[in-house]
Every structure is written in C-alpha cells, then in structure tokens.
C-alpha cells in the first residue's frame, strides 16, 4: 500500500467511527444499513468482479443467515450470537451445495440457476409459515441481552464485521487464490489449460462469499431489523447489491464500499418522493456506468490517482 492508500483508509475509518457520535438514531440506522450493503456488495464483488461468476443469490444467502439464526432462537432458544455464527456456517454450506450443482455451468445458465434458487427459497419461507412464520415475519431478538436496542453499539458491531470482511477479501485476492480467480474471469479455458482447477476455485470463492453474506444477514437482522420476512429475498434487494458494486467499481476493493454508501444514502433521500424511486435511480446509474465508464466511480478515480503516483501500480502479491 502507498502512503496515500494508507491515509485514505485511516480517514475513511475515522469518518466511520465519528458517525455514532454526531448522528441521531435514525441516521445511525441508515449508516448501519450502508455497512450491511458494503458487506454484501464486497462479498458479491468477489464473485463477479474477481472470478467473473454472475450470481443473483447474494441477498438469498443473507436471508439464509438471518433465517437460520431467527429460527434457532424461536425453536431452540439459542442465544442470538450463537445463531449468527450458525447462520454464517449454514449459508456457507448451502453456498457449497449450490456451487457444486451449478458452477460447472457458465454464464447465463449459472445466473438463471441462482435466480431460481433465490426464488424457490423465498417461496418456501413464505409458504411454510407454520415453521417460518411466513409473511407475518419472524421475530429477531436483539443481539445483546438489553431491554432497548442500542443503535450506536449495533453500528459499531456492523462496522467491525465490515472491516473484517474487507481485510479477509483483501487477503484472499492478494494471494494465489486471487490470481486463479482473475485468470478464471479473464479466460476460463486458458485458466484450466494453465493447470488451474477452475471449478474448485469458483466453489471456494462462492463459499467465502456466502459465508460473509450469511454472517451479515444474521447480524444486521438481530441488530436493526427485529422482524424479518421473505421480502428480504426479493430481486430488488439483489438490485441494490448489484448496482452498488457496478456503480462503485467491479473488481476493486474500494468500489463496492463507495457504491454501497452512495446508493443507500440515495435510497434514503429518494424515499420521500416515492418508496420505489430508488430503483429508478439504480437502473439509470447502472446503464450510465455500463455505457460510459465500465470501471465505475472508483475506476474513474483510480486512473487520476494512478497517474499522480498515489495508488500502487504493481499488485502487491507480485512484488518481491
């Protein structure tokens, strides 16, 4: 990392830490929502941005995490923190099974399969209401044994998970795994001809990505949602994840962070106009980005900063 990159990371972290001190409870909740989508977009970016795998199931994996935890609390009486961890593990396991089934497929077939999975799961959660409480909603007890939810504390927990997620993804993509994933994204046949077990590495990326989404889903539900419903699997949730990553900058570490913050704030501002106005904004932004600057806002910024020598030009993993 260059000095500028370190400085930017410290400033961003400082700004994030100031949020609970200066904002009211409502705005803290908005900021926590942004962090939730930072995690989902960052983990989804590992799939599309690094491995070139297009999945529409990221919101579904967050739901797997949240529902696992909520159902364990309801039916088994486990403490929420245990539920969150189990939720992450179950999401990773489901991710592994789904990946085993469909990662031999490529392109549109894979994408269709993940949409199918997501929709089936949503319908099952809705129909099996005796077990899942369906559209009535599943109550999520607060993460900590407290009478009143503390949004500032909840925000800090989400921030910790977001940081852990960013560090984990950074380490993952700056290792041999990152080389394999990028090679798969660039040319899957050649990657295989170069000795890379492409199916195995796509499955690995899928499992890591689902694990992070599952943890985020459970944690956010216990801290800020209180009652979850199958609506969290609607494709409009997935649209936010997709738009945030593409608008911010696919295949970069900072892109999904910038995109998620931008779009969640945009969503809140537009909520006053109409509850669905934000979807229009996302659609327009995605079209504009895909048409004019495919590498997203961070991609634009990257070129400027690189030409001034502020960003590293040599991937750290290839340096001696």
């Amino acid at each position: 990392m260059t000095r500028f990159e370190k400085l930017a990371a410290v400033v961003a972290l400082a700004l994030a830490l100031v949020v609970p001190l200066i904002f009211d409870s409502y705005l803290i909740r908005v900021a926590a929502t942004a962090l939730y989508f930072v995690i989902l977009a960052t983990s989804w970016n590992l799939l599309l941005g690094f491995a070139g795998v297009l999945s529409f199931a990221q919101a579904a994996f967050a739901a797997v995490g949240a529902y696992t935890s909520g159902l364990m609390c309801l039916h088994l009486g486990t403490p929420p923190i245990v539920g969150v961890i189990c939720g992450g593990i179950v999401a990773a396991a489901v991710g592994w099974v789904l990946a085993r089934m469909c990662l031999r497929l490529r392109g549109p077939y894979l994408a269709l399969m993940t949409i199918g999975f997501s929709e089936i799961l949503r319908l099952v959660l809705q129909i099996e209401h005796e077990f899942t409480r369906g559209s009535l909603g599943l109550e999520m007890p607060y993460l900590f044994p407290m009478d009143e939810p503390n949004h500032a504390l909840g925000y800090l927990v989400m921030l910790a998970l977001a940081l852990a997620c960013l560090v984990a993804i950074y380490k993952f993509v700056n290792s041999e795994a990152g080389l394999y994933l990028k090679a798969i994204r660039e040319d899957e046949d050649i990657a295989q001809a170069m000795g890379i077990d492409t199916v195995k590495w796509k499955i690995n990326a899928f499992v890591v990505s689902s694990l992070l989404a599952g943890l985020a889903g459970g944690l956010f539900a216990h801290l800020f949602v209180q009652v979850i419903a199958p609506q969290m699997l609607l494709l409009s949730e997935m649209a936010l994840i997709l738009a945030a990553t593409i608008v911010g900058g696919l295949g970069t570490l900072a892109g999904p962070v910038i995109g998620a913050v931008l779009l969640v704030v945009g969503q809140e501002v537009l909520r006053e106009i109409s509850p669905h106005a934000h979807l229009l904004l996302f659609a327009i932004l995605v079209i504009v980005v895909m048409k004019f600057f495919r590498r997203g806002f961070f991609g634009l910024l990257q070129d400027r900063l690189r030409s001034r020598g502020l960003l590293a030009t040599v991937p750290p993993f290839t340096k001696l």
């Binding site: 990028k182 050649i190 001809a193 170069m194």
Partner: protein, 251 residues
C-alpha cells in the same frame, strides 16, 4: 531450484504415445486413427494443410476435446480421460495459436497464475517470481513485468504466452503456430529459446505453416491430411513424399 538441465532424460522408450486416436464432430472425422510415438527429447514437427487436424490433435492431447476412440499416454499414464488442468499438471504445456493471455492482469500475474497452479510445495512465491523474471528477460520482455498484458502488441503477447507456458515447467511442450504474427526479430528470440530447450532434452511437438523453419528445426516430421496421418519421417523424406506433395498441392 529450476535449471535448464532438468529436462534431460536418458530413457529411450517412448514417453508419449498416441494410439488409434479418433475424434468425430457429428459426421465429420477430424482425427481418423492417428498413431505415433515419441521418445524423450524429440522435436517433432506437425504439418498439414488447413483443416487437416493439427490443432484438433493438440486439443485432443490437452483434453480440450475428448477422443471418440483410441488412447493417449504420457510417461506411461493414460491422459485422454483427464480434465484439462490435470493434463497440464501431468507435465504437458500448451501454447495456443492465438495469444490468449489474461489481458487485465500484469505480465508477472500471468506468469504466477500458471506457476502457482502447478508448483511443487518446495517452490516459494519468491522462487516463482525469480523464475518468471528470468523467463521475461530471456524473451526480451522484462520491461513489461508490471504492465497490463492487454496493452502489449500481438508479438509481445505471443512471447508472454510462451513464457507463461514455460512457467508450467512442461516435460512435453505443444507449440501451435508459435510464430504467427510475430515480428521476425522476435521469432529469432523464440527460435533460440526453442533450440535451447530442445538441446536441454525437452520433448516438443510444434505445429507450423512455416515449412522452411519447421523442416530446419525438427528431426522428424509427421504430416496430417483430412484427419489421417499420411507421412512420418525425417524432414528430407517427408519433403519428397508424393502423398504429402499431393495433399499440399492437390488440395
């Protein structure tokens, strides 16, 4: 550490065997009972008119297409039912006709992706980087070490692809038209490297339309036409073979 001498093999028994290999696409027999053997250290030229099955044969060896019939073995191991990455790990390195490098990755990333995928545990990241740097230097493209590969010229990409294939440390090297679109000066660099590898005992199959070059380089030539093996012999024998002349000129 890796050294040029590691390729030297003394055994004279065949290390690469193709037996009755056939491959059909629908009704079209792209390969028709092709059989030949190679001993270690041989440099074999593979020639034939367009559509004769040269690339298809290499694709069959690399498990890109499964054989419909017959078998292929390398170092006494059947490789025709392995998947692509397993064939590579078994010691067969393939260079493609079009320079299919990883365009958004730097040259060093291109090399390391291949190096890591087949590395033995003893080789560290630093070893691989050193080996990559040596290869880039010997192929005169070391100044592009940290350049994104997609910004290089066609000829330079070919050299990068060559370096990436050598990162695999193959014991059998498959070269498909390695000089296509490459500047004459760079061809000289590649030829020099191929000669060195051959002298060090690496087994090589090379496909080329450049008959003078391939005849000058190889000790043995096999010729394909319509998926059939029509000649197998020294360059002089194959050059005089009426069947080969007919296949090339008679269309």
């Amino acid at each position: 550490m890796w050294s040029e001498g590691d390729y030297r093999v003394t055994a004279a028994s065949p290390i690469f065997e193709v037996e009755d290999a056939s491959l059909a696409f629908g009704g079209n027999r792209a390969l028709d009972s092709v059989s030949f053997n190679m001993v270690a250290g041989e440099l074999l030229g593979l020639i034939g008119p367009n559509g004769s099955g040269k690339t298809t044969l290499l694709n069959a060896v690399g498990s890109i297409y499964p054989l419909s019939d017959g078998k292929i073995s390398f170092e006494r191991q059947r490789i025709d039912s392995l998947s692509m990455h397993e064939v590579t790990r078994a010691g067969i390195g393939r260079m493609f006709q079009a320079p299919r490098i990883f365009p958004h990755m730097t040259c060093m990333e291109n090399l390391l992706a291949a190096g890591f995928a087949v590395r033995e545990d003893a080789e560290s990241r630093e070893d691989l980087i050193h080996r990559g740097e040596e290869l880039l230097t010997s192929l005169t493209i070391d100044r592009f070490r940290d350049t994104v590969a997609g910004s290089m010229s066609g000829g330079q990409r070919m050299l990068l692809q060559f370096a990436r294939t050598l990162m695999l440390r193959p014991r059998l090297l498959l070269l498909d038209e390695p000089f296509g679109g490459v500047h004459p000066k760079l061809i000289e660099v590649m030829l020099e490297r191929i000669r060195t590898l051959h002298e060090d005992g690496l087994t090589i199959i090379m496909v080329s339309h450049d008959l003078p070059t391939i005849m000058g380089l190889s000790q043995r030539i096999i010729a394909l036409a319509n998926g059939k093996l029509i000649a197998d012999g020294t360059p002089a024998e194959v050059r005089e073979d009426p069947v080969v002349i007919d296949a090339y000129l008679g269309g």
